[in-house]
C-alpha cells in the first residue's frame, strides 16, 4: 500500500514538472511580448508629449504671427516650426485645407529638429482653414488672412 502511494506520488510529481516545463516557455514568451508592447505604448505616449508644431506667417516666428497665414496671389508661403523636444519627419506631415486632404507643393522632406522652422507652400484663399498633423496625431491650426 505504502509503496503504491509512493509510486503514485512520484508519477504525479513527474507529471507536474513535465506540465510546468512544457507550458512555462510559451506563457513566458507571451508575457514578454506583452511587456514589450506595454513599453512601446509608454514610448508612444512620451513621443506624443514631446511633439508640438506651430504655424507662423513669418519666418521670424513672432508669437503674434502664430496661427495665421498671409494670403498672397498664387502660392502662399508660410512657416512651420518644431516647437517640441523631438524631431519630426517633414515627409510625414499631413495637411488638411478646409477639412479636405491636401499636399504641400513642393513636397517636404528631411527632418525638422527641435526648434527648427521651415517653409511650406500651399495654394490658399482668404478664409481658408489649414490644419497640419504630425505622424503621431499632434496638430496645429492656421487661418488664412
Amino acid at each position: 500500500m505504502g509503496f503504491g502511494i509512493s509510486v503514485a506520488t512520484a508519477i504525479i510529481a513527474i507529471g507536474l514538472i513535465l506540465t510546468a516545463t512544457v507550458h512555462y516557455e510559451r506563457v513566458s514568451n507571451s508575457c514578454e511580448s506583452l511587456r514589450d508592447a506595454r513599453d512601446e505604448k509608454h514610448a508612444m505616449r512620451l513621443s506624443e508629449l514631446d511633439t508640438a508644431i506651430g504655424v507662423y506667417s513669418t519666418s521670424q516666428y513672432h508669437y503674434e504671427d502664430q496661427g495665421g497665414i498671409a494670403n498672397t496671389s498664387g502660392s502662399d508661403n508660410f512657416y512651420i516650426k518644431n516647437t517640441g523636444t523631438t524631431s519630426i519627419d517633414k515627409a510625414d506631415l499631413i495637411v488638411l485645407v478646409n477639412g479636405a486632404s491636401d499636399s504641400f507643393n513642393p513636397e517636404l522632406s528631411g527632418w525638422a529638429y527641435p526648434g527648427d522652422g521651415f517653409q511650406a507652400t500651399l495654394d490658399l484663399d482668404i478664409g481658408d482653414d489649414v490644419k497640419i498633423v504630425t505622424a503621431n496625431g499632434r496638430s496645429a491650426h492656421a487661418g488664412v488672412v
Binding site: I12, L18, T19, V27, I94, G99, D129, A135
Partner: protein
C-alpha cells in the same frame, strides 16, 4: 511483486492508474489555461501596439470623409467590412476606405491616413467614433 498479496497488488495498480489519470487531467487543464493566456496576451499586445486618431478639422464646415490616422506601431486592416463608423451613435455603412498617403504597399501602416467615406451624412457638428478590427477606437466631436 511475486510475494505480494493480491489486495496489495490491486492497491498498487489502482494507485498508479489514479495518479496517471490525475496527471493527464492536470496536463490538459493547464494546457487549456496556458493556451487561453497566450491568446489573450496576443490580443492585448495587438491592442497595445494599435492606436488611431480621427484628424478631421472641427473648424471645417464640410468633410469629404472621416480621416483616420494610424498612430500605432503596427499595420491595420483598412477594408470597409472591418472598420465600424458611428455618427452620433448611429452605425454607418462605409463606402470607401482609401489610404491617402500610401507608401505603395496598400497596407494601412503607421503614419498613414485612411479616408472613410459615407453616403448621405455630413459629419460636421456630429460625434464620430471609429472602431478598427481589434477593438481600438477613437472618438471626435466635429
Amino acid at each position: 511483486m511475486a510475494g505480494m498479496p493480491a489486495s496489495q497488488a490491486i492497491f498498487f495498480i489502482a494507485s498508479v492508474i489514479i495518479a496517471s489519470v490525475v496527471v493527464v487531467a492536470l496536463y490538459g487543464t493547464t494546457g487549456s489555461l496556458s493556451g487561453a493566456v497566450v491568446v489573450r496576451n496576443s490580443h492585448l499586445t495587438d491592442q497595445l501596439k494599435s492606436e488611431i486618431v480621427i484628424i478631421n478639422d472641427p473648424a471645417a464646415s464640410s468633410h469629404p470623409g472621416v480621416y483616420v490616422l494610424n498612430t500605432g506601431k503596427t499595420s491595420l486592416d483598412n477594408s470597409t467590412d472591418t472598420i465600424a463608423l458611428l455618427v452620433n451613435g448611429v452605425y454607418q455603412t462605409i463606402l470607401t476606405s482609401d489610404i491617402e498617403n500610401d507608401d505603395g504597399d496598400l497596407q494601412w501602416d503607421p503614419a498613414e491616413v485612411v479616408n472613410l467615406t459615407i453616403s448621405g451624412v455630413n459629419p460636421a457638428g456630429k460625434s464620430i467614433k471609429v472602431v478598427v478590427a481589434n477593438g481600438v477606437s477613437d472618438t471626435e466631436q466635429l
